[in-house]
């Protein structure tokens, strides 16, 4: 199909879809007039029931915890897919590794501060995720992003521990599998899968929420490591030798 034919087909299709959207929007309640019961119900019952102040995370890891398990498996499957797609069997992509460093000390200093600050923010987001805004998913991405800055300011040698499959793979297993283990633990006790097992603690503290905290930590590990595995695969494929004038000693 040529470009022109494709655009000729696309234009009426988009017009039709836009009309359907306009029709659908006209039937929706106006912005700000939320009517569904579930949001109101959860906002009323979650804090008294689970002692967790971040209702979004309590919803993610408790009320619809089984969905989040599926979400972790989506992440896992995608990392697996990228790894299989980019796996180099021919050795054709062997290129010279840049082992030298960035020359500018100011950039490196700012970078180091970003790594430290990013790790701190990421850990805070994961640890307090079910109390204040945050959670294992956003926190894990921030952690992995902070570690990636280390690659930008350092060298392959500095970054090597964070793309070592022998370290990352078991950790990814712990993150994704840990979630399932918490679910199975409830089954062993004769309860439904992923039933919240532990005491709910004092509202608004790290000890609140029962298994929400454990599932949150498992998700944090799984997301951080999944991101690092993705970065590792892309870096492995994309590394290009730098010209001598681009790098210092």
């Amino acid at each position: 199909m040529t470009r022109r034919v494709r655009i000729a087909l696309l234009a009426p299709a988009l017009l039709g879809l836009g009309t359907l959207f306009a029709w659908a929007i006209a039937g929706l309640p106006p912005f700000g007039e939320y009517r569904g019961p579930y949001g109101f119900v959860l906002n009323q019952i979650v804090v008294p029931l689970r002692h967790t102040t971040n209702v979004v995370m309590a919803t993610t890891f408790d009320v619809r915890g089984i969905d989040t398990m599926g979400e972790e498996f989506i992440l896992y499957a995608s990392v697996l897919g990228v790894t299989l797609l980019l796996r180099d069997e021919t050795g054709a992509r062997q290129v010279e590794r840049n082992t030298r460093r960035l020359r500018d000390d100011t950039v490196r200093l700012v970078g180091v501060l970003m790594v430290g600050g990013g790790l701190l923010v990421g850990l805070w987001l994961v640890a307090f995720g079910y109390i204040t805004p945050g959670g294992g998913f956003p926190g894990g991405v921030v952690l992995a992003g902070a570690i990636l800055v280390l690659y930008l300011i350092g060298s392959h040698r500095d970054y090597r521990p964070f793309r070592n499959e022998h370290v990352l793979d078991p950790l990814e297993g712990i993150g994704t599998g840990g979630y399932v283990v918490v679910g199975l633990a409830a089954l062993v006790g004769g309860l439904a899968f992923l039933t919240n097992l532990f005491g709910f603690g004092q509202t608004g503290t790290l000890a609140s929420g029962g298994s929400i905290g454990i599932l949150n930590a498992a998700a944090g590990i799984a997301v951080t490591i999944a991101m690092l595995l993705l970065f590792a695969e892309f870096l492995e494929t994309y590394v290009v030798p730098l010209e001598p004038e681009d790098v210092g000693s």
Partner: protein, 114 residues
Amino acid sequence: MSYLPYAVAAWLFLVGLAGVATSKNLIHLAVCLTVTQSASYVLLLTVGYVKHGNAPIFKGIPLGAPAVDPVVQALTLTDVVVSVVVVALILALALDAHRLSGTVDPDGIADISG
């Protein structure tokens, strides 16, 4: 004005879709798909918004204060994760396509087989 956020969601979806269909570069295509998917974040958060509502995090605000729907926020979280992994897979496929055919133009790689 009260329907503007819905219109933004619809606009993002249509613009992203047009970008995907007319893209000449697989990486550009992945970005367009992200724009398309952003429409669902806007739509979800719009549907759950309560006028003058707080974030559904009852730390520092009293229990029972008006708050927006936490369900759609959790769904948006799932949505973002799915978006990220889909982009990762498309970029991996783009790298493979580039390695096999030497181009990232979807029209240029349509001729190769197996």
